[in-house]
């Protein structure tokens, strides 16, 4: 094997960068070489790496897409860019699955795999059906490596609005996709679990039902993101069942989930509320009106379940907190005051 001599590979400076290490290990050798040569300004803001069969190697930074050349440079010219071969994809797929496709059948069925470090890889290919259900994906044609960026402290400024006199207020985060709602939720969970000096409260026991492994980024049973010291995680578990399991067995004070919407989710949330448990969850949408159009959610809002509603947007930057509502009275608690702190919240 010609590459075994490359044992010093690991010692190269750029390889020690933790974020890049997990990502690089998911790529075959020839692609690693390309990424090692990329300047760090580009890799710092990298959001996605896209591999498609017989298509150019692309990365996306700050919502823009760039090609990468054979020499590992960012180029805009299609003819100079590196073309991904089928072999590249196959090798990358083996590395991403840690050579163990048999052990990741569930994940492959749902279309993504979580890497060490909490990064997620989306898979495209030909699905194999058995009795109208997806059994596995074969002939992998595209991989999308989404680089997870844990942003510790993004929720510090909002915590004062969510915790009142030492009790947590049921919270709903409303946001369009790609606006940082999971990032915000994760950091709120971390703060709730660890406790804070300002606003002053002790940590709560938080139960997380992480249906899509996005909140905690579980890899082989270990959460890759910091979600606090008093957090129990049910990974890859359906939300409704997961909430019931937590209520029965883990005695949480707060239950956190991502992206509710189904009728059974709402039912489970009502059960949790009846058991005296506080909730924090997120939902897709631009504003309150959009949410109200969805029947299940409208019922919850009418009952006044949520005490606080946070609206996120990506204007001017991803993760901007547009407004925080009082859920029962619809009174805006904060709108403008957070604007001048936007950058602090984002970074």
């Amino acid at each position: 094997m010609e590459g075994l001599k490359d044992k010093n590979f690991k010692n190269k400076d750029c390889y020690q960068n933790c974020l890049k290490k997990d990502i690089l290990e998911a790529l075959p050798l020839n692609l690693r070489e390309l990424f090692i040569h990329l300047p760090s300004e580009q890799t710092k803001d990298m959001e996605e790496i896209r591999l498609r069969v017989n298509k150019p190697l692309m990365i996306s930074c700050r919502n823009r897409e760039y090609f990468i050349s054979n020499k590992g440079k960012i180029v805009t010219n299609l003819s100079e860019s590196y073309m991904i071969t089928k072999l590249d994809i196959e090798k990358a797929y083996q590395l991403i699955t840690d050579y163990s496709i048999y052990a990741l059948e569930e994940e492959i069925r749902s279309g993504f795999i979580t890497l060490k470090g909490g990064h997620r890889v989306g898979i495209c290919g030909t699905t194999v059906l058995e009795r109208h259900e997806i059994k596995t994906i074969k002939n992998i044609s595209g991989l999308n490596i989404r680089i997870s960026k844990e942003k510790l402290g993004v929720s510090n400024k909002v915590m004062q609005y969510l915790v009142e006199e030492g009790t947590f207020q049921n919270t709903l985060i409303v946001s369009p996709p790609q606006c940082g709602k999971t990032t915000l939720l994760r950091d709120i969970i971390r703060n709730l679990s660890n406790g804070m000096k300002k606003p002053n409260f002790l940590g709560f026991k938080v139960g997380v039902v992480d249906e899509r492994s996005e909140i905690c980024g579980m890899y082989q049973g270990i959460p890759q993101n910091d979600v606090g010291i008093k957090t129990d995680i049910l990974n890859a578990c359906p939300k409704a069942e997961g909430m019931m399991m937590l209520i029965r067995s883990m005695s949480p004070q707060i239950i956190a989930t991502d992206e509710i919407g189904k009728a059974e989710d709402v039912y489970a949330m009502e059960e949790a509320l009846n058991a005296g448990i506080k909730l924090i969850t997120t939902v897709h949408g631009r504003n309150l009106e959009e949410i109200k159009r969805r029947k299940n959610l409208n019922d919850l809002l009418k009952q006044g379940v949520f005490d606080r509603i946070i609206i996120l947007s990506n204007d001017p930057k991803v993760g901007t907190i547009k407004q925080i509502f009082h859920g029962k009275t619809n009174k805006i608690i904060t709108a403008d005051p957070l604007q001048d702190r936007r950058n602090e919240i984002v970074c």
Binding site: M1, E25, K91, L95, Y99, S100, Y102, A103, E105
Partner: protein, 173 residues
């Protein structure tokens, strides 16, 4: 006369040893095929029932395998664990090629082992089970052949060694 006796004994002993060495090869091959069979059964348990990732499965199998074939599995683990970016087939082939010479296996056995690496890890459980079933069948067949060869040749090699020695003594001394 005394020197002649000593020489005769030395000649007979050495040819007998050569005969035993040849016979030992046949016994060892059978032995190693049986051990390989056991190791693959361990690997199957690790993969199918414990759902362990392949590098960890290889490590565990290596620890529990017989020392003559252990290196194959531990080598695979070492290379996979270092995350150098090779495909499993490349790694498996390298490990087999590196350690093949230290075993008593023949080329046919080697082909079977190399063949096994082609779909190792790179398929769902159902196909992994099929792959294991195939290698069990092949190894069983090889075991039968090896057993036949051993029966036929072990005794022959041993007695031929002694007989050749006696022959040399009679003709030349």
């Amino acid at each position: 006369m005394f020197a002649k006796t000593i020489f005769s004994i030395i000649i007979i002993l050495s040819t007998a040893t050569i005969g035993y060495v040849f016979a030992y090869g046949y016994v060892q091959r059978l032995h190693q095929l049986k051990n390989l069979y056991l190791s693959f059964q361990l690997l199957e348990t690790e993969i199918i029932y414990a759902s362990n990732p392949l590098p960890i499965a290889m490590k565990k199998v290596g620890e529990r395998s017989h020392k003559t074939i252990r290196k194959i599995f531990t080598d695979v683990y070492d290379i996979l664990h270092s995350k150098m970016g090779y495909s499993i087939e490349e790694v498996w082939n390298t490990a087999i090629n590196n350690h093949f010479k230290q075993t008593s296996l023949n080329m046919e056995d080697k082909e079977i082992l190399l063949d096994f690496g082609k779909s190792l890890g790179f398929a769902d459980k159902e196909n992994q089970i099929k792959n294991f079933k195939l290698i069990y069948l092949q190894l069983e067949k090889q075991q039968q052949i090896a057993e036949g060869l051993r029966m036929k040749n072990e005794k022959m090699c041993k007695s031929l060694g002694i007989l050749v020695g006696i022959g040399i003594v009679i003709v030349f001394i």
